[in-house]
């Protein structure tokens, strides 16, 4: 439901491409890891279509449940497998890494998270760091990151309210 509400909000100003991670392999395969440092790091059709979508995108949004302190495995798997050299970043002739997602202005994460504030603070909220810091490093510091947390039993109206403040910038 959170996805539907988010798509509706974003559709007012953007053309939305929806990627469903059901069936998307979580782990990077041996073939992918071997190809990672080659000129053709993408070997899977699903990964390729995601990579093309990211290359076209101005906004990247994730909708995911969170239960441990890191990102959920499907989203982390998508980041691991899709944002390979040539997509997420570029390795120059000098071996240095350069950002590859400079065209992305906004990152949005809608986390379905029932943990208390205390527990989130205690556990370190690693998921947020992966998006707001590691991913933003390959976008640029002027890229904004919105983090919207909703409860799993939230109604559509509550979800919409939770997004209202941040959505003015999208």
């Amino acid at each position: 439901m959170a996805t539907a509400v988010l798509v509706e909000r974003l559709s007012a100003r953007h053309r939305v491409e929806l990627i469903d991670l059901a069936g998307f392999g979580v782990a990077m395969t041996a073939a992918e890891r071997r190809a990672y440092e080659s000129d053709e790091p993408i070997v899977d059709a699903g990964v390729r279509s995601s990579a093309e979508a990211v290359t076209r995108a101005e906004v990247v949004a994730f909708v995911t449940p969170l239960q441990s302190s890191g990102l959920s495995a499907p989203v982390k798997g998508w980041i691991d497998r899709v944002l390979v050299p040539g997509v997420g970043f570029v390795i120059g002739d000098d071996g240095r890494m350069r950002p590859g997602l400079g065209h992305i202005r906004q990152l949005i994460t809608v986390s379905v998270d029932d943990r208390s504030r205390l527990r989130r603070l205690r556990e370190g909220d690693s998921a947020r760091r992966v998006v707001a810091r590691a991913l933003r490093l390959v976008c640029g510091w002027s890229t904004r990151s919105s983090w919207i947390r909703i409860r799993s039993e939230a109604s559509a109206a509550e979800i919409s309210d939770a997004m209202a403040g941040a959505a003015r910038r999208w």
Binding site: A27, A30, R33, K76, I79, G95, S126, R133, A134
Partner: protein, 165 residues
Amino acid sequence: MVTLVYCHPVEGSLTSAVRDSAVEALGGTTPHIVDLSDPDRDTAALAMTDADALARSSSLILVYPTWWSGPPAALQNWFDEVWSPSARFDTIQRIVVCTSHGSSKFVNSLEGESGKRTVSRYLRPRCARRCRVEWIALYGLDRCGPDRRARHLERVGRRISALGS
């Protein structure tokens, strides 16, 4: 008992060499190995087996590459399946993390070292009260020569063989 979790898709990688050094350094102790590199492994189905092994382990060794500041998705998946919010492993006195980072320590500090936080703030509080985390990391792997790799392997061996003492 020792549980060793290995997570890298390619045999022959630095991470697989680190795993071999760690196993060798354990000497007579044969660890329970959780091999997340096997694409056919059903982590959800084996969660109970792994939890049983953890409940009898005094040390947990995690061997993985750091990708996007944290553990690979397959390891994250293992955390979600085995380390449920209610799970506790009171026998674990030591968590040893052997990891490598493609980029420099500076870039990783900008990225927020989320993997370190997951281990020390999500896993450790579920272990024994005085459980310690040992962090053995190699930074700047993308531009690192064979001598630094060899030193890293040596360091892994040295620190893991000191575990028992």
